[in-house]
Symmetry: C3
């Protein structure tokens, strides 16, 4: 493959003052706490795929920033989310990461029982307390909503609608019909790095020739184009090299392409970081998602999933190893350098360094983060 | 067995404002520190059974709240306790959890040697230092005393007598002749919960039908009666169901009853929390004790022991598995919900909840704890 | 062997106020931080032996007090040390503890490349940034120097020369020709004790009869003589007992003596603590070194090495087990009591204790430490 066959769009020149962030943005527990409370605590964050709680009473549990949340579906098909805390003595109710309620939600300690909308329907011996009224003690709710098969939560008491946060993304990715896709594989990574380093790693391919030769062979690192950063997301697309059908171990595609895609989009991979915690990677024949679960300033649990058309998954011959192996290798290379960045930035000798023009989204994200913190300073 | 055969005494109605404690009482390291310093640090706490240091020079070591204490017995049979710190360079002297001194206590570093009353009797080369006087450097003492075979320590410099703390308990349980009982079995549990949650779990049986069906089959959860909370303990008794002889896997009693008990007390189990760290459970034929060793706001080591008449232990046919298995199962169920309570209360969504009338001792204990902290606020 | 054959020099009487240090000097993270920043951070510390980076591009990595440092040698044979932090995005460059650069130093993330003097010689796509100049972004340097085969680092920006810190040590130990010695064996110990307790343990032999009977059989604990404490080191010598050739399992010496030693020095072992982190133990036929790497107030990594004449190491019959086994046993006994000291001093019951006359260097070192902290108090 010749470089001349690649369409390379030049990028704007970095401003002279553009430098990576001071170390404290990646290491200070106090700044991490502000990000958790004011960014993750106020935005809708991607918690799961809708398909994981398809049936009434199916549930999963998510933990973020000191909250533990039950997400389930009621008989009418509506997603409900509740704090996993009994209103009697505060006991954690669900102890499994996922499962199926038998019609109601019961605390294991004193058997207080709630329906799938969180209403208290049983509280043994509380009838002997004259002032006690069951309607006063429902499970405390958490806002939940869905976008095209992705399930989002919001810990705010009065959040803006999910659609308002997603903005033009809803239209932009309609053709991929994401709600029709089904989980093929999940790999959970424990990354010893700040969540922002993972987002920054995701949003530039300048490191690809050196770190990901296999990826660079399929998709030239200078190809494609970025959108300017939006208030709630940033991203861009890259082109597949001539002859490459998708991102897989050998570049061929053993699956049917997604049915709604234009000819152009069948030649591209879209990479979007949807703040605060979702990385959406749309390929001609599959969707890869990462959800980031920050645990500490220097540690992030990273859940990577590969989603496919149900019709492909149903085939006896279905095999996702070509794209899972390809990305698992690439993921591990990325998390390794994210961990090296965390280690290096944590050195007391670290000083901010200069960005290249290819790191435009990182510089924009840095400014977003600096602005965010300047709005939340004590 | 019919409910009608159970004598159920109604309880007073909870005051309308009765609510479980705010989360900080279970999660804040600063409040934990105050409880350790001002409650555990000033009260007599149960450290062991007297029989564990029966012979002169037999010793055991206990650790609490940053102190490490040697407990031993001198030739005259008196219990002595010392800080496990050499007066020369501060070296920890005893490294084993228990053992036997060969007549004196020697530091492994420079061989400073103390007698079983803590007097310094050897200090190599210190005789070359003219101003040095051995009587100035005894092991630093800790107060120790015994109650009916239970060995207590007190870290205060001038504590009240043990008997003053125990109050009416001494008379109340004289019939059980606890000093005659001998250890049959010990199980140590590591519970990820605040020590107060363990005490609260111990002092209500409202959770028994749901959590402990085996226990509830032997002793009805509404049976018996509580005493009002005293300054230094709280507790009550429950009745065995008709036909049940003791708390064991099948409710039968393969051992002789304790010899001093009244006919009534042979039909009851007494459960007393003796502040700050002892749970005393007296059965018709055996004594179960728990001693609580708080490690952190959210973690408590819990030592459970089963004690029997020496004459029973001496029998070839002696087997404690009926009561040990019964309580080990019940213990594990209890510690599990204590850990769920700790987890739920640690959620940032936790809010205090309402008590039922059956949780009278918990509400009283909460007020005791709130009063205690209000007296020790900075 | 009779005591009368040992030359014992009496020591001065301890002042009456001489006491071990208050606990905070060994337990307080804030004081530990000051020692790391102002003592380890300003003095030359021993990092390795020069032989470990003999060839150009050979490197090793050292970590201390939040810094991570690459030490290597350029083509001209000069030792260079650099912070292990890429000037681009702060990535840690070297991930191995030691190795060989292929002529240059390359960051694994975006392939920024530095020569062995730290100059930036490659930075892909940065040429598209007009204001970017490679000479502005060398690796940040750390001062490095060598003394007789020992490699030292200094984290200060403008340190005094190494020779000025070492003072009279350079002349004192010239006869041992330390630069000619080569590593035979290394054992790394993880000691749960403050670094100062290890230095104090090293500087008195009052504990030898009790703790090290094997050592005391070869070298009487009262033999030899100490120098008064100097600004940057302290130490002394001890005599081998009659008939003993060196410190080894049986006291015999299967190796040739070091060639430059006087007859007197062939009968002695020199023990010098070279502040802040080196213990230098010179035997008639080998050199033992310890380098201390404090990790926390209560934990120190301790690297012990045995070095021999190259001519001895080259022999087919070479065997270091006689001296390695001897000292490994002695080391373990020492670290054990250091850990007991740390544990005892950490007890809230610890109070400073009295020194004997044989602990003169410890009292001097304590005063050095107290003086140091009094100069660096907030």
């Amino acid at each position: 493959m010749e470089e001349s066959s690649i369409s390379i769009k030049p990028r704007d020149v970095m401003p002279e003052a553009a430098r990576t962030l001071p170390a404290r943005y990646y290491t200070d527990p106090a700044l991490f706490r502000v990000e958790m409370d004011e960014l993750f605590g106020r935005m809708w964050f991607c918690a799961a795929r809708s398909q994981e709680i398809e049936r009434a009473g199916q549930f999963l549990v998510r933990e973020l920033n000191g909250y533990n949340v039950i997400v389930t579906r009621n008989a009418a098909g509506r997603v409900n989310a509740f704090h996993n805390v009994c209103r009697h003595r505060g006991t954690r109710i669900c102890t499994e990461a996922s499962g199926q309620f038998a019609g109601s939600i019961q605390c294991p300690y004193h058997a207080w029982t709630y329906d799938l909308d969180g209403r208290l329907i049983g509280a043994p011996h509380m009838e002997e307390v004259p002032h006690f009224q069951k309607p006063d003690y429902p499970l405390l709710g958490v806002h939940a909503d869905e976008w095209d098969g992705h399930l989002f939560l919001n810990l705010e008491s009065q959040p803006q609608p999910l659609g308002a946060q997603l903005g033009s993304l809803v239209d932009k990715f309609r053709d991929w019909r994401m709600s029709d896709l089904r989980l093929g594989r999940r790999i959970v990574y424990d990354v010893k790095a700040n969540w922002k380093l993972i987002i920054q790693n995701y949003n530039e391919c300048l490191h690809c020739p050196n770190l990901h030769p296999a990826l660079n062979r399929l998709s030239h690192y200078l190809s494609g184009e970025n959108e300017p950063l939006h208030a709630t997301y940033m991203g861009g697309r890259m082109d597949l090299r001539p002859g490459v059908e998708t991102l897989s171990t050998d570049g061929s595609c053993p699956r049917a392409f997604l049915p709604g895609l234009s000819a152009d989009d069948r030649r591209r991979v879209y990479y979007y970081a949807i703040f605060p915690n979702m990385l959406l990677s749309l390929h001609p024949d599959y969707m890869m998602t990462h959800t980031l679960w920050p645990v500490a300033a220097d540690r992030t649990i990273n859940v990577c999933e590969w989603h496919f058309q149900a019709s492909e998954l149903a085939k006896d011959s279905f095999d996702s190893s070509d794209c899972v192996d390809f990305w698992d290798l690439t993921n591990r290379q990325d998390w390794h350098v994210c961990e090296l960045s965390q280690a290096g930035i944590s050195s007391r000798a670290y000083v901010p360094g200069p960005y290249s023009n290819r790191e435009d989204l990182l510089h924009a994200f840095d400014r977003f983060i600096v602005d965010f913190h300047s709005r939340h300073e004590g």
